[in-house]
């Protein structure tokens, strides 16, 4: 049931991607195929090292697949573009620019709107993410959570077709993380854009997702895809609902299998999924 006007649909068709080191070639993705539906929040979850960042790099255009195709709205990804923007786990804000200048960077570089329009939208967005009082501060003067919010604003002002989030809330303390998830959900639920969110936290994954894609170990492919049919807008109380707990148990089971395989393969206890995993 694919609408021909779909904006932001990403298709991975039999993608293989390997990384060369001096002695060996490690295959990270192996004939990996999946679809990220437009207008939905898809979450990618999987064991550590399973190529989640590689997938993000391939969609963003920073890497090219060795085999197979990465398609956006039917066309192969040619390179980096403001259609597909990334928010990284570690901040990629330009440290020599203020918050405001960081957010203005995209519009000024691409000249898609006038300076006045860009200025208005920048101020609006920064206020929306709660940084109205920090417009002219430098990234080094901000906390981790604030930097993520600034990066969100910096990406969103360009109205990208696909937003790629690579474990953006990792390393934040629990309270900040919860707040960030709420901020993010409000933004997503308002904009109806296409989002791909990568995480290794199961609770976060199910809380955010419309659709959950679970990866295998490397060489990775899709192990399982789940539709998360929890009601929107998502609020904290959903974490206590029966359906949520069912989904969580199911996800845990699937991931457990892969985690056991990983720890046997690598010879160390590679427990990457940190919510409630028992050996």
């Amino acid at each position: 049931m694919v609408d021909s006007n779909h904006k932001g649909e990403v298709v991975f068709e039999n993608v293989t991607r390997a990384v060369q080191t001096k002695k060996t070639e490690t295959i990270i993705l192996d004939h990996c195929s999946f679809v990220i539906e437009s207008g939905k929040l898809t979450v990618l979850i999987g064991p550590s090292g399973c190529g989640k960042t590689t997938i993000i790099n391939l969609i963003a255009g920073y890497e090219k697949p060795d085999r197979g195709k990465v398609l956006i709205d039917g066309k192969p990804v040619a390179g980096p573009d403001r259609e597909r923007l990334v928010v990284f786990q570690e901040t990629a804000l330009f440290p020599w620019l203020t918050c405001y200048d960081n957010v203005m960077f995209g519009p000024l570089a691409t000249k898609v709107m006038t300076r006045e329009e860009a200025h208005e939208q920048a101020i609006n967005l920064l206020e929306k993410v709660g940084l109205g009082d920090f417009l002219y501060k430098y990234p080094m003067q901000l906390s981790g959570g604030m930097m993520r919010r600034a990066e969100l604003a910096r990406a969103l002002i360009n109205r990208p077709t696909v937003m790629l989030m690579d474990e953006p809330f990792r390393g934040l303390d629990a309270m900040t993380r919860e707040l960030m998830q709420e901020y993010y959900l409000r933004l997503v639920e308002e904009s109806h854009g296409t989002h791909l969110f990568v995480t290794s936290e199961i609770e976060e994954a199910i809380f955010l997702a419309d659709r959950l894609i679970i990866m295998t170990n490397k060489p990775s492919r899709v192990k399982h895809a789940l539709d998360i049919d929890l009601p929107r807008p998502r609020i904290a109380s959903v974490l206590r609902s029966k359906r949520y707990l069912e989904l969580k148990a199911l996800t845990l089971e699937i991931l457990h299998e892969e985690a056991v395989k990983a720890s046997m393969a690598s010879g160390k206890a590679d427990i990457a999924i940190d919510s409630g995993l028992r050996t």
Partner: protein, 249 residues
Amino acid sequence: MANWTTVRRIMSVLLFLLAWTILVQFTGQFHQIPTPAAVFAALFQLKLGVIFTEIFRSFVRVLCGFLLGLLIGFPIGVAIGYSRIANYLLFPAVEMVRPIPPIAWIPLTVLFFINIESQIVFLTFYGAFFPIVYNTMGGISEVDIRLPRAAMSFGINRMGMLWKIILPAAMPQIFTGMKVAIGITWLMVVAAEMIASKGGLGYWVWYHHTVMEYPMVILGMGIIGLCGALCSVGIDVIGSHFMKWRNIF
């Protein structure tokens, strides 16, 4: 109310002076070296006109050498760091010359440069060149790859990438290179002046050594150190203007 840290610092200096005095006055070997008191007394015998002329002479040579090093070394460092072709072309030659210590060049400079002033400036330039090239090159090639990637997604062109992203990101390392360079430049100036006998602080110190006025020698050493430190601070001040975004400043 005395600040405890300041008190500790003063005490450290006093202890150093005390050890110095004891070593000189009460052991057999070092009795030729003046005591701190003698050096302090020499301070009052300084002819201000003379010393400031020599300081000025050295400073001019340092500045010329340093600025030349920057003018020539900075573009080379940027090219090697940013362009693979420039790297292949230029880096091997630079690497080959680098191990030769600046002082070893003195005989050759006499051949190549007609007057002593230009010989001295060449040596100071040489001292500044390598730290600038290597730190610029390093700073540029070590920019976190996610920054240019983000800029590419936002649609920046190749020139914009160099000026707006790579250079600002590499600034801290470039300034480190400049600080190291100015230190080595001072080193070179003093060495060259001691040999060349054409004025400057190095010459001044050497002259007082030949007439065995050692309090002046030590005073001169202190003044050289102070000038070097001032230059370093000067670069920090300029740096803090270019890098307002660093919390440290």
